[in-house]
């Protein structure tokens, strides 16, 4: 008697697991059937499997989008974190060829040893290359080097039929400019060719600059933007009156050749990692309960005020030297910090406003939050410039990321959503934009107002051409009526 066994080299069938899939903010999401491929063939198999079932598929990286960009309630979710190999890194040019699940951390750990740092990094190093390209993320240098997509030379995209399409600025240029920032609606990145930039030290020179109020923040950004390599301002959104919009700006400049000989040893990747202990002994993974108490007992305003005043001390001791990793990855300083917003989670509301309108509208938004009792526990102000991608969120102006706790009480949650939609109207009336890695509240009617009718129509045409059956869907895409 013989037993039928599959040939040993046959790829295993995709195994879908029922999981609860949420965004980074833990406030939106739901059940999904998840599969984690480890190779390109498995992605094709997964596509065929879902198509055969007549289902829809969301593409997901590390799940760092705050809202519902990588969730698909009741549908399938392809989690690409298992495809995390850097296929090549050229030490002469600094160009890396990455699988989509390679994280920002994987990339800089490879590149820094050769004197390269990713052109654009997010506030956390957990983000994947595929996710970063699909959301076209930006960093603290958006006003100088543009968005993540501007450092992507080319990529391969798998269409719903399982075909691989190569895209670059020269080849399938329309798809190239739409898939970057196209929030996973046109295909799955299977390989990305990504540029990094030369750095001449493992450290940067960093300044802390106290901003007395919102206008002072804008003044500093305008004064320094043509000198500084990175600019980002933490804003105390609890402050009222004369101090409204006060904060602490951080400026960082890269070193010139020969400027920081002692920084040579910081090209060792181990010296770039964010320390995982406080005072060398307390694991930072234990800190979030303390932060949770600050939120639960309504002391976030006090924490913000203390942080603001501590900024004067930092300003006096500036400039100082800091490794690239320590400067960039503030969100990784306290692991699982978002748990402090449990059980409701958080949303981030990040309007992008044209330069002329930003001071007026942002002031209005902060006042509205304060009046309604939904004061963001964190505000981050950045400067931006436009980029050439179809679904871009960037513009010549500023953005303010506002992290707001979500209550489990439905009345509080509803009032927060109402507030955000009212704020979104103010932003859109002023010619502003939104960023889908963060958004959780916009509605279908906002979609053409964010991007303009022409861009939305072009994007829908591409979606119709490459994915006519609406195979790629997320909770975000359904919310926006893509």
């Amino acid at each position: 008697m013989t037993t039928a066994t599959p040939p040993p080299d046959a790829p295993p069938r995709p195994t879908w697991r029922d999981e609860h899939v949420t965004g980074f903010g833990m406030s939106v999401g739901g059940p999904g059937r998840v599969f984690r491929p480890t190779g390109v063939e498995q992605i094709a198999d997964a596509f065929a499997d879902v198509r055969a079932q007549g289902g829809t598929l969301a593409l997901r990286g590390a799940g760092c989008s705050y809202g519902d960009a990588s969730t698909n309630r009741g549908g399938h979710v392809l989690d690409l974190t298992g495809m995390n190999r850097i296929r090549s890194f050229d030490p002469q040019s600094g160009v890396a060829v990455c699988e989509p699940g390679v994280t920002v951390r994987d990339l800089w750990r490879t590149s820094i040893g050769y004197g390269y740092w990713p052109r654009v990094v997010s506030g956390t190093m957990q983000v994947t290359m595929g996710g970063a390209a699909a959301m076209n993320i930006h960093g603290k240098n958006n006003y100088r080097l543009g968005s993540f997509g501007e450092g992507v030379r080319s990529f391969e995209l798998m269409t719903p039929k399982g075909e691989l399409v190569r895209c670059s600025r020269e080849q399938n240029s329309d798809l190239f400019h739409a898939a970057i920032g196209g929030f996973g609606m046109l295909g799955c990145f299977t390989s990305l060719e990504i540029e990094t930039k030369r750095v001449h030290s493992g450290r940067m020179r960093v300044w802390g600059i106290v901003a007395r109020d919102l206008d002072h923040n804008f003044e500093i950004l305008e004064d320094l933007h043509d000198k500084a390599d990175y600019l980002v301002s933490w804003v105390d959104l609890h402050a009222k009156g004369a101090g409204l919009g006060r904060g602490l700006m951080h400026r960082a400049d890269q070193m010139q050749p020969g400027e920081d000989p002692d920084g040579l040893r910081f090209f060792d990747a181990s010296l770039q990692d964010v320390p995982m202990t406080l005072f060398g002994v307390v694991p930072k993974g234990w800190l979030w309960p303390g932060m949770w108490c600050a939120v639960a007992f309504g002391q976030v305003g006090l924490v913000n005020a203390l942080k603001f005043h501590a900024g004067y001390r930092e300003e006096r001791s500036s400039p100082y030297l800091q490794s690239h990793g320590a400067f960039h990855f503030l969100l990784d300083y306290v692991p699982r910090w978002q748990w402090m917003t449990k059980p409701g989670g958080l949303i981030q509301f990040q309007p992008f406003l044209p330069k002329a309108e930003a001071p007026r509208v942002l002031r209005k938004l902060i006042e509205l939050c304060q009046q309604r009792g939904h004061v963001p526990y964190l505000g981050v102000l950045k400067k931006h410039k436009p980029d050439p991608f179809l679904m871009t969120h960037a513009l010549d102006g500023y953005s303010m990321a506002m992290d707001i706790c979500v209550s489990k009480r439905s009345s509080r949650r509803d009032s927060l959503w109402r507030l955000c939609r009212q704020m979104a109207d103010l932003v859109l009336d002023a010619g502003g934009r939104f960023y889908y890695a963060k958004d959780a509240v916009l509605t279908e009617s906002s979609f053409p107002r964010v991007h303009g009718d022409a861009a939305v129509s072009a994007f829908r045409d591409l979606k119709q051409a490459w994915d006519p059956d609406g195979f790629f869907q997320t909770d975000l895409s359904r919310r926006m009526g893509v």
Partner: protein, 249 residues
């Protein structure tokens, strides 16, 4: 202090501990001849050092340590091109994956050629010159793995033990000529060579380099890096053979 101020030679300088040592030497203002097999990597690393420091303190010399016969000529060429060498760091090492039941002479030979014969070739070339000049410093990086023969990598253990014993002999020969020989036995260090292993408590390569140069400055004969490995290996060495063979360490 080692008292050395001439050109340094670092063998195995394209990655890991060797690269970290080369960077720290250059950072302290020393001229460093960087040697490694992979020319592209080596060029990139030497350029990075020179760019970061704003002057030429590193030069790449592509060299395959397994070609031991070439060592003497290359040593002479480095001195011709870049002045007298008075410090050698031999950090090159090979640790291939070996299955528990594998006995592959090709793999074994290569480890002996790189880890042992290569070390002998470069240290001989240095020793001959340093003894006649009456000064100089040789630092050889072996491993805590040389302290016991273990199931996992018999020839790696043996080649490092061979190198370690050779360095001891060299130290005994040369101390009367004013030449320092320091043996470094690193424990767990994060390097490309160990990237496939799950090493708990591994230190950064740069930290290992810092401790190696401290041992050099302190004129140490044998340095465990970090120092706690002296105690750990004391315990491991004292385990009787009938017991050791039953353990999975």
């Amino acid at each position: 202090m080692s008292g050395c101020s001439g050109t340094c030679v670092v063998v195995g300088a394209s990655s890991g501990i060797g690269l970290a040592v080369a960077r720290r030497l250059a950072q302290s203002g020393r001229k460093v001849a960087m040697l490694a097999r992979r020319a592209g990597e080596l060029d990139a690393q030497a350029s990075l050092v020179n760019e970061a420091l704003g002057r030429e303190l590193a030069r790449p010399y592509p060299h395959d340590v397994a070609a031991a016969d070439d060592a003497e000529a290359l040593f002479a060429r480095i001195e011709d091109e870049w002045g007298e060498v008075d410090e050698l760091h031999f950090v090159a090492g090979l640790m291939p994956e070996v299955a528990p039941d594998e006995f592959d002479l090709d793999k074994d030979r290569l480890q002996i050629e790189v880890n042992f014969l290569g070390a002998v070739a470069w240290c001989n070339a240095a020793a001959r010159r340093f003894q006649s000049r009456g000064r100089g410093c040789i630092v050889g990086v072996t491993s805590v793995a040389q302290d016991r023969g273990r199931v996992g990598r018999p020839v790696y253990n043996a080649s490092k033990a061979g190198m370690d014993t050779y360095l001891e002999a060299l130290r005994n020969r040369l101390w009367r000529r004013g030449v320092q020989v320091t043996t470094v036995r690193p424990g767990f260090v994060e390097t490309p060579m160990t990237s496939g292993l799950q090493l708990k408590g591994a230190i950064a390569a740069d930290r290992a380099a810092e401790l190696i140069l401290k041992a050099r400055d302190g004129g140490k004969a044998i340095a465990y890096v970090p120092a706690k490995w002296r105690l750990i290996m004391l315990v491991i060495r004292s385990i009787p053979s009938f017991l050791f063979r039953r353990l999975s360490i």
